[in-house]
Symmetry: C2
Subunit: 664 residues, 2 copies
């Protein structure tokens, strides 16, 4: 289902050329054109039609911000080509705690990218096919599952698959905007179907002035900033580019910025020209007959319909299909970014080691699955509603923008201390200025977003990031303390063998597994050997003693009473008592086990051996030996070529190998 397993050496083959990297990493900022304009309008129309004239100014601010961020990130890509992106920049220059803040914010935002993009994609599908309105949630979850499966196959094949729709979307939207604006210039301006409706303001939002009006405009601006999400994906994904990695990544970043600005400006202008009226609640549209049964179309859908002449035209369906497709694929940006970041965090021991394992197909499988589960959950809880989800969005992006740009300023300051040539010093001064301005502006936007969105739902994103931050620090502390405990300061002394080996063979009845365990234990020639049984039932114990005497073996049988029908505790206590008598010896416990071939056969046998082994491992100075007896069914199940499920997935090609000691 996810293709054949691949050798670690094949890693180089999965690197991306620019024409594939652009759609993979840039489909998120490009696709956000599909909802950024709409989110601005949704906020402004809270006050009726009165404030729509702010739209161009807000759009201009978003475009300016986009330019600042793209320029800033070009510096990051060149300075830090290893792909840690904002996380690496902030860690290196502002310290690990600041880096973790960025990492937590980005992880949350990747999840939001998947949720919002897919929700908006489903919205556009429903705009074209209103009959599907009842299946919103199922569609969204289905797309998450589809993307997960695709990404588990590995990045390159996904890239080829994902390139076409992005280009089709960009082309389609630019043609739509061109056609629409041309018609406008020729005096035949397209008119949206909703231009005829008025909008009733929400009580309390009409006739605003002063601070209240400012807040409304800032809220609209915050919503418009969704256009900037995903810009950092390229800086996190530099290692996936072909060489020269930084240059290719920077070029892709600029191309992405230009295309995004062109599309955003085009769509926003067209929306103003065509008088698109859209509200958060269709019952505030005046002049509408049946408002409850009316499904508002997305801005893109309204524009496509107006430009191409209706909802049954080829142009309309083309735009809707391309938009829906690119939005669902935009979620793929996060499916590339999240596992990579999680893997780097795991390598730095801030996340469980498993996040750093490449799967059979060389993708970071565990990160992909974690992202899919989190996004799927959000879509389920928020019923795949874009407007609910969008409030949780962009907070993390601007946190990481601000901190990484601030980090870059420090980075350049440090460079200035060592670099001497005037030309290079000048370039650094320019870079520092760009990053300084970038940091201040994105910091300002962060404050604006926090102020206008916190009570609307953004608090949840803040809480999630804080929880992640605390958890990651805890995980790091855990790994550090274990590593400190396990490091051998004096290896020679650790190698001193115990003075004697006392072997115990656990016995319940005399059958082949028991006899084999006894034979193997004797082969080791321990200093002392005895058989041990727990007498849960007196009669059984007497029968066993008789069998044992008939066996006539030179190993004494020790019987422990257990009136409370326990097995584990008496054995553990007996072993402890031996250790207390001779603390310098080691106790070897031999447990006969029979191995069955099918999982359901295990249901038919008691799990006592497993529990007992588990508890014995907690006892110092003990080793536990399983002596297996393979039943015929196990031989059938054990084909030599068979691989343990997931065994490949646990390999790690380029990092500290998982120790055998990691146990459950």
């Amino acid at each position: 289902m996810i293709g054949r397993a691949r050798r670690s050496e094949e890693l180089g083959e999965t690197l991306l050329p620019k024409r594939l990297a652009l759609p993979i990493f840039a489909s998120d900022p490009l696709s956000s054109v599909a909802y950024a304009t709409q989110e601005i309008l949704l906020v402004l129309t809270l006050g009726g039609l009165a404030y729509l004239h702010f739209t161009p100014w807000i759009a201009a601010a978003v475009v300016a911000l986009m330019a600042v961020v793209v320029l800033s990130y070009r510096q990051v890509v060149h300075a830090y080509p290893s792909g840690g992106g904002s996380y690496e920049v902030a860690s290196t220059n502002l310290g690990p705690s600041a880096g973790l803040v960025v990492a937590a914010s980005l992880l949350v935002d990747y999840v939001m990218t998947v949720a919002v993009s897919i929700a908006s994609g489903v919205d556009n599908i429903i705009s074209a096919m209103p009959d599907l309105a009842g299946h919103r949630r199922a569609l969204a979850i289905g797309f998450v599952a589809l993307l997960t499966a695709m990404n588990l196959r590995g990045v390159r094949e996904s890239g080829r698959l994902f390139a076409a729709p992005t280009y089709l979307f960009v082309g389609g939207v630019l043609i739509m905007c061109g056609t629409g604006l041309l018609r406008f210039l020729m005096g035949d301006a397209p008119v949206a179907a909703t231009a005829q409706y008025g909008i009733e303001p929400v009580p309390g939002e009409a006739n605003l002035a002063g601070f209240a009006l400012l807040m409304l405009v800032l809220r609209a601006f915050s919503s418009g900033c969704t256009a900037l999400t995903g810009v950092e994906a390229i800086s996190n994904g530099v290692p996936a580019f072909r060489k020269p990695k930084p240059k290719n990544a920077a070029t892709t970043l600029s191309a992405m910025g230009l295309i995004a600005v062109a599309m955003f400006v085009g769509v926003t202008t067209l929306a103003i020209v065509a008088k698109v009226h859209i509200t958060d609640d269709s019952c505030r549209l005046t002049g509408l007959a049946d408002c409850t049964g009316y499904t508002q179309r997305t801005v893109i859908a309204q524009l496509a319909s107006a430009v191409f002449g209706g909802e049954n035209t080829l142009g309309f369906y083309y735009i809707q299909a391309a938009t829906a497709l690119v939005l669902v694929l935009a979620a793929n940006t996060a499916f590339n970014g999240f596992p990579l970041l999680a893997s780097i965090l795991a390598q730095h021991r801030y996340l469980p080691r498993q996040m750093h394992n490449r799967g059979d197909r060389l993708a970071f499988s565990n990160g992909i699955v974690a992202l899919a589960v989190a996004a799927g959950l959000l879509l389920w809880v928020y019923k795949a509603n874009v407007t609910s989800l969008i409030h949780l969005y962009i907070l993390g992006v601007f946190t990481s923008f601000t901190l990484s740009q601030a980090g870059m300023v420090r980075h350049w300051n440090r460079e200035l201390r060592v670099v001497t040539g005037p030309a290079r010093r000048h370039r650094i001064h320019v870079s520092r200025a760009i990053n300084g301005v970038g940091s201040c502006i994105t910091g300002l936007v962060l404050v604006i977003v926090l102020a206008t969105k916190f009570t609307q739902g953004a608090w949840l994103a803040v809480v999630a990031a804080v929880v992640l931050w605390v958890m990651m620090r805890g995980i790091r502390r855990h790994y550090d303390s274990i590593s400190a405990e396990l490091t051998a300061t004096d290896p020679r002394s650790e190698l001193v063998p115990p003075s004697r080996v006392l072997a115990i063979v656990l016995v319940s009845t005399v059958h082949k597994p028991t006899l084999r365990a006894l034979a193997y234990a004797r082969a080791f020639k321990p200093d002392r050997l005895e058989a041990l049984t727990v007498a849960v039932d007196r009669g059984e114990a007497v029968r066993l003693r008789e069998q044992w005497e008939r066996l006539d073996v030179d190993v004494p049988l020790k019987i422990i009473d257990s009136p409370y029908r326990e097995i584990t505790r008496p054995v553990v206590e007996y072993v402890r008592s031996i250790r207390r008598e001779s603390p310098r010896d080691v106790v070897a416990v031999f447990i006969p086990e029979y191995v069955v071939g099918h999982w359901w056969e295990n249901l038919l046998h008691n799990q006592s051996a497993l529990w007992l082994k588990n508890r014995l491992l907690f006892t110092p100075g003990v080793m536990v030996t399983s002596v297996p007896w393979q039943l015929s069914s196990s031989v059938r199940a054990d084909r030599p070529a068979a691989r343990a499920p997931g065994s490949v997935r646990r390999g790690e090609p380029a990092a500290p190998r998982p120790p055998y000691q990691g146990r459950s």
Copy 2:
């Protein structure tokens, strides 16, 4: 929550005196009075009011049947005091396959007893408090959970708790019937609230004649036979009685039969006198204003209201409370019978061994939980609707009645061959006649039930019993084949030790756990010792070799390449290759593990060791030794007095002890 753990010797203390055994084992047949009459009426009123005059005849047939069954089971109790009940009788006399048919039928019926009794109990609660109608399912599941918790505490304490309500119910219903019939004799007959409504027949069920009418009457009779369910519980529960067990059990059985007949006759007579009109669909009641909003009361509720003068009287609430309580507790009959039967079946190796384990409180915990889950599922799926559930019922009871009575006839035939005294031979002839008649009559009823109920839902019960039957035979075959494989035919030859021991210590890095494993392996003085590592990453392997050389230990380090990042497979293949070279040697694999104290810590470490151990156990001639290194957190978690969860539950006081070999 379920009380302190109890020693195996305390088992004797949990035996029951008659006055407690009656309510425990007989609450099911006694409580069925609450729905048996109603189910007869529900079938008859399919044809309107025209066929209600059949009621007394059907009731008389049920009473006669009850007498036959009680008399028959008195013979069983005396002849087979060990508590296998119908299962034991059928197995012994008709062969194991017939016994298993009975066992499967009874297991299904125990589940149905819980489901039907609780559903009916909830119905009676809703009759008194119609506001709860929306919470039917939640109430039912809640009661199942309550009974489960009570039974996990153990049988005797439950008995005392359950005795009072049964007696209160019997007293209440008898007083109600007495009062009602006295009023009738004095010319002041009670009149049910529904007497005023007519009943419209279901299309196609009116004006029946000949075969169709016969089928309707037989269907009504089948439904009335629910009064007989649970009679066999006493014969299955003989071991729970005080001595002399058979005599006490037979006396209790007779007492139960008399009380049940008195109540059933009383309620049915009263229902005829008071003209209770009840239908499967309230919209077939004529003369009712708003039929959809109308909740029909149970027959018991209508009678209580008519006799005691309304729905706000103390008498009404008393009857409803006692009925609901006894019905919920009737489910307890099954909570006593099911685990006991399952335990006997497990002892005979027809069910997983775990069913035979007594819990900390000496109850068969696993059987209790299995019953609760099955009944809860049925209540959930059928929305706790009595009429839907009742179609699945009584099939199993009559299967077991018929087969066990047939078995008893064979039993007496065999006795006749050895017994000589004329008095004893006469008694046996009488017994055989009773059982012969019983077998024929219950067999006839079984055919009637099958014919009238199969398409109504009883097919599901048949399917369930067949699946259980096949499964139990499969389990027995599995245990038999394993037992045959494990039996040592020549113990001495199995004890011959392998010629040499080759030890392999798995190494990933040089740290304390590895060094300890090495030290322990050397303490065994194996014939050959080497360290083994899997090179998932070349650089790591080179570093490890350097560390190893610095360590300067006389153990060679073997490095295996693994381009596909696997760990398990290369190790297993290496071990196999050693074994191929020297098949008479044994390979001892030492795995260093570190032990953590909290479950969540395991999430932070790879599970490679567990997988590897698991796969190695499938390899012949291998033993796997875990050498644990206890981290400080594990020491905190390992209090010596702490008991492994469920360790007590796995003990078995009176049967083949679970072998240590049973493994997962």
